[in-house]
Amino acid sequence: MKKEKKKKVSFARTWPLHLMLLPGVLVLFVYTILPLLGNVMAFQNFQPILGFFKSKWVGLDNFKYMFMLPDTFNIFRNTLIIAVGKIIFNLVMSVFFAVLLYEMGGKHFKKMTQTICFLPHFLSWVILAMIFRDLLDGSGIINTVLLKLGMIEEAIVFLGSNSLFQGIIVSTDVWKEFGYGAIIFIAALAGINQELYEAASIDGASRLQKIWNITLPGIKVTVVLVATLNIANVLNAGFDQVYNLYSPIVYETGDIIDTYVYRMSFESAQYSLATAIGLLKSVVSFVLIVLSNYLAKRFANYRIF
């Protein structure tokens, strides 16, 4: 096999591509890159009245301040645990659900289940928090049932327990999002070559073996893609949800970056700090994505981007 000389692709051939990209790039540039200039706030002591140009420059002070706060370690730790938990379990559950549907026969039942499970995504945490608080209250249903069954002796204040809070946050979020998250995988599953299954049947493969050897590998690319994209969210543990479900007694394990910053900004528009943290989050996400892309290329031979 002779290696062909790499042909230099002429601009004449590629200009339509550049043109196709132009509108999108323009929009992204104006509305995402330009505002980034405003991130200069992270390095200032920003006062709205002074604007960007007169606010005092403080260099890395805002970042230093953030790291010296007594609770910084806790907040970061909580955020990571909750966010990573969500990413992993959401992924697993979405794939599981998508595969179940795929294996399902009845068309109508399938459609119905899919639609129903897809709906919780649309409920806002304000209302869901009310529902869960009722459920998990000391005198709520879950406690009542557990007490009756004799599984516990005293009512558990679920949302007040530092050992249970993170688990509750992750599981309720998975409940809310698995249906919606499965959509991508359902679409991906639709693209698997059916002949593979028939061939496997002829070879005498069981249902489980088929799933393991054909179905899952068939969507492996999509799974890796979604996982990688979600890594960008590793510092977004879900403000709405935590804010509506937490209370001071679980600050230890429940306070995340966003809720902390919110409380700070609320007292007195702390733009600089909020911007600094936003910037930090973005940098971390960027590093992680570059890393995972590299690792995927290197070890699994996948190109994600």
């Binding site: 590629t14 249906g179 070559n193 994209l229």
Partner: protein, 293 residues
């Protein structure tokens, strides 16, 4: 998939069905509860007496929401936004995903565009500068403010790009031999083959636009131009600092339960209506030689 009615299949199917039923119920019950809340009297809702069935059935919350001329006004704005925004999103997504899906040999600048795009996805600017730029480009207080800044949904672009890339090479190669150019390749080959992915990204885009209340809140000043979710959101006061509210407002704020529920139900209905239609695109296979369900 031709399935034989073997014992194994029967058991398997049974387990699958059971699991799906459980999952379905887990999702359905709270939804029923929300629906019931929205149809119950305020008193019953506040006292926590509503289970899965309305208590003291009343349409009061819905009447309250719907009687307002502003409700319909904002509904129309939202519909406009979804169509306009969804359209723009789709076009820009396709236009960007295709070139990005090409190999470096065919399109050398590709990698740089790719990292630029990812960068944009990760580095979102904060409120004040973003607001500033939108103001200076003259979009403030118009529907364009709701559809242009968010015109490129990068997540969707990456999804679609991957999808394009994984399309069967054979078709593309044979088309190239026939002398097809890039634009034709995109429109005639890749896009038609990408229906499930397109349906997916369109759905995400529609849902995103429909549910978005935040940009409406910040960028629109005229009450008549406010989209539905922003309008509904403004009816429910979520302030933590209650000292600034008058007694009247405080009381209103405290009694939001049925209202919140009605709001969710109404906001979800259009999606509920559209989704079953889009479903068929998810379920239909596209590879050649498959048995259609």
């Amino acid at each position: 998939m031709i399935k034989y009615k073997t014992m194994e299949n029967r058991i398997f199917d049974f387990v699958v069905t059971l699991l799906l039923v459980i999952l379905g119920l887990l999702c359905l019950l709270p939804l029923l509860h929300v629906l019931a809340l929205s149809l119950s009297s305020k008193n019953a809702a506040v006292a926590g007496r509503v289970g899965f069935w309305p208590v003291e059935f009343t349409f009061a919350s819905y009447e309250y929401l719907l009687q307002d001329a502003r409700f319909f006004q904002s509904f129309v704005v939202s519909v406009k936004r979804v169509i306009l925004g969804g359209g723009i999103n789709l076009i820009l997504t396709i236009l960007m995903a295709y070139p990005l899906s090409l190999e470096k040999e065919e399109f050398p600048a590709r990698d740089r565009y790719m990292w630029f795009t990812i960068f944009c996805m990760l580095f979102g600017a904060s409120l004040v500068p973003w607001y500033f730029v939108i103001k200076e480009t003259g979009l403030l207080d118009s529907i364009w403010a709701l559809v242009i800044p968010s015109g490129v949904p990068v997540y969707n672009v990456i999804l679609l790009m991957n999808f394009f890339r994984n399309q069967p090479k054979a078709i593309k190669e044979s088309a190239k031999i026939d002398g097809i150019n890039q634009v034709q390749m995109m429109f005639l080959i890749c896009v038609p083959l990408a229906k499930p992915a397109l349906a997916t990204v369109t759905l995400f885009s529609i849902v995103g636009h429909w549910n978005n209340f935040f940009d409406g809140m910040l960028l629109i000043n005229t009450p008549a131009k406010v989209p539905l979710q922003t309008y509904i959101q403004s009816l429910v006061i979520n302030m933590s600092d209650t000292s600034k509210l008058s007694t009247e407002q405080l009381i209103n704020m405290m009694s939001q339960r049925t209202f919140n529920s009605a709001k969710i139900v109404i906001a979800t209905i259009p999606i509920l209506v559209i989704y079953p239609f889009m479903q068929k695109y998810f379920v239909t296979g596209i590879t050649l030689g498959s048995v259609k369900e």
